[in-house]
């Protein structure tokens, strides 16, 4: 009845306005939820009929709905990528448009999404359900956006810790560069534990090198040796002067052993012959050709002093205990000739006469040089008795890939702040990151620096469950004792060969089961006069000038210790039918394409005409059946031979060269 005090009209209008606004906004919220990117994406997937024809795919496409995720409790990850990447593990969608296409390659066969999800390899934000938030491109607050394919191998390396992971060539190359450049001399680097990198010890460097060479070397090692593993420390002329003085004063031991050498009668022609006979180029390059285990000899005359070189060649292990160089058995005159040849042949035109050794007396200079040596961490690579070893001078690189990119220095450059970019710049140009750096400039090419970066970017704070880690087998240093051990040390067998993975990789033959592979007599002869088994391989086993006793010791030891019972149990009573069948197979399989037999065939693999005298049958059969098991990456293809076929081939190969080889050797075998 009373109509007083009713609300004024403007309030009603306001209410209507606000109410409509609210309804609009709320319906927009509803719409927003319903039109979520992943829903529209799935709707597009269901309309793929235009592209996919077969009924299976249509059924698959039609049934898709709702969020899909892979939960990886072990890895603490939830990946929802498959909400949109709906065809990722179904080969039927190979031709489908993005994002529905099948994963390229066969990666998912070895890395099924149910066990690995997506982000362990690709990075990005797996929990997200839209393109932007999934960090396909860099996003704020997403520390690890998706890696571009070019750098994805860094993530392979997080699980695959072997030095040479298969199918990740950039990573493998990066790790090889790290191993070769000895980064772990100064930095603790997970994955490279147990490796040591050593430059030569410097205790008697004063006897070894010429002063002018040392100064130029300290200024820029690459000016003398382009492949130098030592970086450029960017020393000032003052630092170079004092360091040079300090180093040339290092004459702790007297290593020289050249008194009474008749230099006047040195025969450089004989030296040249020896140089070839000893196969020096297997390890040392000259003029850019040859091995890389030892330093290149092209300008060796500019570098070393004559008496030191003579003494070193004569007994490298006494002059420099940690050298990988082996000790040959020659006489003084031969060493003299070789020394004279090297100094004459391999020195640049402007090399003057050898200056007499200088004795530095200036205590301040020596102290300054010593300070430089200590400050720049020279002792990380070079042993020097006068200097206490200080351990690694650089920071540990453990977990480097998980450093906060925004806290790292980038100098003045406007690069995107990522650990990748930081590592890259640091490796490439360590002194340009806006803070003083003791790290030398190694002169890597940008591509090499990028590969090293990849390898380092795989080093994360490891909380990976052990079941995901494909590890590098722990290396147990192999140190045999007794007379055999002495010979192994003297001839530095492990500079080239490996036992249990320990040792150098110059030789393609690991020694672990060599006793079951090779006939003992063949081995004993081979050690005395090593020929080329594989013509196409450039590096050769050196001619050691072993004594027959030494050869016998080695052959006996090896034939008794480095065995694999599986090969030795092989039944070696072959029938002639088997051998005939083997000969047929030899032609059918095309073995002659790579192997020489008599005068016919290729020279990719070893020459086979003396196989019977060289190899044991058990090994031949095993090798022919599954070559990759024994030597990953070998060029011997796996033909998938049946046991009978492998046996037939073995019978044929065993028959080759046996009778005449035994006859020829007669009783001369040591």
């Amino acid at each position: 009845m009373e109509v007083r005090n009713i609300a004024p009209l403007r309030l009603h209008l306001l209410f209507a306005g606000l109410g409509i606004t609210f309804l609009l906004i709320f319906s927009w919220v509803l719409f927003h939820e319903e039109a979520a990117e992943w829903r529209t994406t799935q709707a597009r997937f269901r309309q793929l009929e235009g592209d996919v024809k077969n009924p299976h795919q249509l059924a698959e496409a039609a049934s898709v709905g709702g969020l899909r995720q892979v939960w990886l409790p072990d890895l603490g990850r939830i990946d929802r990528c498959e909400t949109c990447h709906l065809g990722i593990d179904d080969p039927a969608f190979a031709g489908a448009p993005a994002p529905f296409a099948t994963h390229p390659g066969t990666w998912l066969a070895t890395h099924p999404t149910g066990r690995f999800g997506c982000t362990p390899c690709h990075d990005g934000q797996g929990q997200a359900t839209d393109y932007a938030a999934a960090a396909h491109r860099p996003q704020p607050f997403v520390t690890r956006p998706m890696r571009p394919l070019e750098t994805i191998e860094a993530n392979c390396g997080t699980c695959h810790r072997a030095l040479d992971p298969t199918d990740a060539p950039r990573l493998a190359e990066g790790r090889r560069l790290i191993a070769e450049s000895g980064c772990f001399g100064c930095h603790e680097i997970p994955g490279f534990e147990g490796m040591t990198f050593r430059g030569p010890a410097l205790d008697s460097v004063g006897y070894k090198v010429r002063p002018a060479w040392l100064a130029s070397w300290l200024k820029d090692p690459k000016s003398y040796l382009a492949q130098s593993k030592m970086g450029n420390f960017r020393l000032s002329p003052d630092e170079i002067g004092s360091l040079q003085g300090f180093l040339l004063s290092q004459r702790m031991q007297v290593p020289l052993d050249s008194t009474g050498v008749d230099w006047k009668n040195a025969d450089t022609a004989n030296g040249r012959a020896l140089f070839g006979e000893l196969r020096c180029v297997s390890c040392h390059a000259v003029n850019g050709r040859g091995g890389t285990m030892g330093p290149e000899l092209t300008n060796i005359g500019d570098k070393v002093r004559r008496d030191w070189l003579f003494s070193y060649l004569k007994d490298p292990h006494r002059v420099q205990a940690d050298t990988p160089m082996l000790q040959y058995r020659l006489n003084d005159a031969q060493w003299r000739d070789l020394t004279a040849f090297l100094l004459e042949q391999y020195s640049s035109a402007d090399t003057g006469a050898e200056p007499p050794p200088v004795t530095y007396q200036d205590a301040r200079l020596l102290a300054a040089g010593r300070a430089v040596f200590e400050r720049r961490g020279c002792s990380s690579c070079h042993r020097l008795a006068a200097i206490k070893e200080t351990g690694r001078i650089g920071p540990s690189l453990a977990g480097i890939a998980d450093r906060d990119p925004d806290e790292l220095p980038y100098g003045g450059s406007t690069v995107r702040h990522t650990t990748d970019n930081y590592i890259f710049l640091k490796v490439l140009l360590p002194d340009t990151l806006g803070q003083p750096s003791g790290m030398p400039t190694f002169g890597f090419s940008p591509a090499d620096a990028a590969r090293i970066t990849l390898a380092l970017a795989s080093i994360r704070k490891s909380d990976l469950p052990a079941s995901y880690v494909v590890g590098r087998p722990a290396l147990v240093p192999y140190r045999p004792g007794g007379k055999f051990g002495e010979l192994v040390m003297r001839y530095r067998c492990l500079s080239c060969h490996t036992v249990g993975g320990f040792g150098g990789d110059l030789s393609t033959v690991p020694l672990d089961r060599i006793g079951s592979q090779l006939q003992r007599d063949y081995l004993a002869n081979y050690l005395l006069n090593p020929g080329a088994v594989r013509v196409s391989v450039e590096a050769r086993m050196p001619v050691f000038h072993l004594s027959p006793d030494e050869a016998k010791t080695i052959a006996d030891y090896v034939s008794m210790v480095f065995l694999d019972d599986r090969f030795d149990r092989y039944d070696t009573k072959f029938t002639s039918a088997e051998a005939r069948r083997g000969q047929e197979l030899y032609g059918q399989l095309g073995c002659q394409a790579c192997h020489q037999l008599g005068t016919k065939g290729g020279y990719v693999g070893p020459e086979l005409s003396t196989t019977g005298a060289r190899l044991k049958p058990g090994w031949i059969a095993a090798w022919l059946s599954t070559p990759q098991t024994y030597k990953p990456g070998t060029l011997q293809p796996d033909y998938g031979l049946s046991g009978a076929d492998a046996r037939a081939l073995t019978a044929y190969l065993t028959s080759l060269g046996r009778s005449d080889a035994a006859k020829a050797r007669g009783g001369k075998t040591p």
Binding site: R10, L14, P104, G105, T106, W107, A109, T110, P148, L149, E150, T151, T166, D167, P169, R170, S413, T414, V415, R416, H417, T418, D420, N421, I423, F424, L425, L428, P446, A447, A449, A450, T453, S536, G587, Q588, L589, G590, Q592, A593, C594, Q596, G601, G602, Y603, V604, P627, Q628, G633, L635, P637, D638, Y639, G640
Partner: protein, 143 residues
């Protein structure tokens, strides 16, 4: 009057919030030198990542006979009869299915000489894919 006051204060609140959000303006896109280095190398080699993977395998497994550039001039080629083909002009290497078959099952499997061995058991499927991709790229490279 009062309505206007409400309106004014609401606008102020919104304006304040918007201005806070717009503080940072767009900046020039910073570079990625590490990625650039890899891409520069790829451009130089004129091969994609997959093709360069294939090339790496090719150099290791195939080049002794087929030659570093697949021209059939490997160091072992002279020992072979029939000799390996120049794959840069061969139409066979342009057929991915055939290439795959020859690599995996050997040349004997397609009725040719047995000199090119089967790699199907030695190489992974992925590696063969890479090799096929590299062979595909060969026709593209014109001298």
């Amino acid at each position: 009057m009062t309505g206007r006051a409400w309106h004014a204060s609401a606008v102020t609140v919104l304006a304040l919030m918007t201005s806070a959000a717009c503080r940072s303006g767009p900046r020039p896109q910073p570079g990625d030198p590490m990625l650039d280095a890899i891409r520069a190398e790829e451009r130089e080699g004129k091969l994609t990542y997959v093709e360069s993977q294939g090339r790496r395998l090719f150099v290791h497994y195939c080049a002794t006979c087929h030659g570093d550039d697949a021209r059939g001039d490997g160091q072992n080629a002279s020992n072979l009869n029939p000799p390996p083909p120049d794959m840069t002009v061969s139409r066979m290497s342009q057929d991915p299915a055939l290439t795959r078959r020859v690599i995996a099952e050997g040349s004997a499997a397609v009725g040719r000489s047995p000199l090119s061995p089967p790699w199907g058991r030695s190489l992974s499927q992925q590696q063969i894919d890479y090799l096929v991709a590299y062979c595909q790229s060969l026709g593209r490279e014109t001298p």
